[in-house]
C-alpha cells in the first residue's frame, strides 16, 4: 500500500516536471485553472454579495418611492383639512341633504309639512323598509331567479328609503307640492307621480320616490 502511494506521487511529480518543461502545456493548465477559479468565485463569493447589494439598493429605491408617495398623501390630507376648515360651516347642509342615519321621521314630517303648506290633504303615506338598528335589513322572501334585479336610483355609498304617499287637492296645489318636494334640503328622488280624478271632483296624486342617507363605510 505504501509502495503504491509512493509510485503515484512519483508519477504526478513526473507529470508536473513535464508540464513545467513545456510552456504551451503550462499556459493551457493556467487557463483552465483560471476559468475554474473564476466560476467558483462567481458562484461562492460574487453572487451572494451582488444579490445582497442589489436587494438593498432595490429596497432603498422602493422605500424612497413609498416615502415620496406618503409625503404627497400627507400634503393632500393637509390640503383637505384646510378646505374642510374653510367649509365646515357649509357642510351642515350636506349632513342635512344626506344624513348618516335614515332619519325617516324627519322626512315624513317634512313631506307632511310640505303637503300642508301646499294645501294638499295627505291620505296615506308609506315608507320602508327602514333600518332602525343593527345591520342592514334582509329579506326572507326567496329570490325569484327570473326577476330582474331592481337597481337603486341612489348613487354609490347612498342608501335609499322608498316612500309612497297619496294626497288630494287641486292641480295647482299638486304642482306646488311636487316642486317643493323636489327642492327640499333632504335629497329626494321622485320616480313616479300619478294624478287621477277622485269622486268629489278633487284630484288625487300618488307619489313614489326615494330619500337617501349615507351608508356606513366598513
Amino acid at each position: 500500500m505504501a509502495l503504491d502511494y509512493k509510485s503515484s506521487l512519483a508519477r504526478y511529480r513526473r507529470y508536473v516536471q513535464l508540464v513545467a518543461e513545456k510552456p504551451l502545456l503550462q499556459a493551457s493548465l493556467f487557463v483552465i485553472f483560471s476559468l475554474v477559479l473564476m466560476i467558483v468565485l462567481l458562484v461562492l463569493a460574487l453572487r451572494p454579495t451582488l444579490v445582497t447589494i442589489a436587494g438593498l439598493v432595490g429596497e432603498i429605491r422602493q422605500q424612497k418611492s413609498l416615502s415620496d408617495q406618503l409625503n404627497e398623501k400627507i400634503l393632500k390630507v393637509q390640503e383637505a383639512s384646510a378646505i374642510l376648515s374653510q367649509n365646515r360651516q357649509r357642510l351642515e347642509v350636506l349632513d342635512e341633504a344626506v344624513p348618516d342615519r335614515p332619519m325617516w321621521l324627519n322626512m315624513a314630517e317634512a313631506v307632511q309639512s310640505t303637503a300642508s303648506v301646499s294645501g294638499l290633504v295627505v291620505v296615506d303615506m308609506e315608507m320602508g323598509p327602514i333600518q332602525i338598528s343593527g345591520s342592514e335589513p334582509v329579506t326572507t322572501k326567496p329570490k325569484d331567479q327570473n326577476a330582474v334585479a331592481e337597481e337603486s336610483p341612489m348613487p354609490v355609498g347612498v342608501a335609499g328609503i322608498s316612500f309612497e304617499m297619496t294626497a288630494t287637492g287641486d292641480y295647482g296645489q299638486i304642482r306646488q307640492f311636487l316642486a317643493t318636494l323636489e327642492n327640499l334640503k333632504r335629497i329626494v328622488l321622485l320616480s313616479e307621480a300619478r294624478i287621477y280624478k277622485g269622486d268629489a271632483g278633487l284630484l288625487t296624486v300618488t307619489v313614489k320616490g326615494d330619500v337617501g342617507y349615507a351608508q356606513k363605510r366598513n
Binding site: 451582488l50 444579490v51 390630507v77 347642509v93 327642492n183 334640503k185
Partner: protein, 65 residues
C-alpha cells in the same frame, strides 16, 4: 494531438459554464433589485385622495328650501 483536443474541449466547456453562471448571477441580481416588498398594512395609506370639494354642489344645496 489527443491531449491538445481534450484541453480545447475543456476550455470551451469551462468558458460556456462561466458565461452561463455569469448570466444566472445577472438575472439573480436583477430579480433582487426589482423585488417588490410593500410593508403590510401600508397599502391603505397609499390610496389616492382628492382634497377638492365641489363648492357648486354646496351652493346648489344651500339654495334649496
Amino acid at each position: 494531438m489527443r491531449k491538445r483536443g481534450i484541453d480545447k474541449d475543456l476550455v470551451l466547456i469551462l468558458t460556456t459554464t462561466l458565461i452561463t453562471v455569469a448570466a444566472w448571477v445577472g438575472f439573480e441580481v436583477y430579480r433582487a433589485y426589482t423585488k417588490v416588498g410593500i410593508p403590510e398594512g401600508l397599502e391603505k395609506y397609499l390610496e389616492p385622495l382628492d382634497p377638492s370639494i365641489s363648492v357648486t354642489t354646496l351652493d346648489k344645496l344651500e339654495s334649496r328650501l
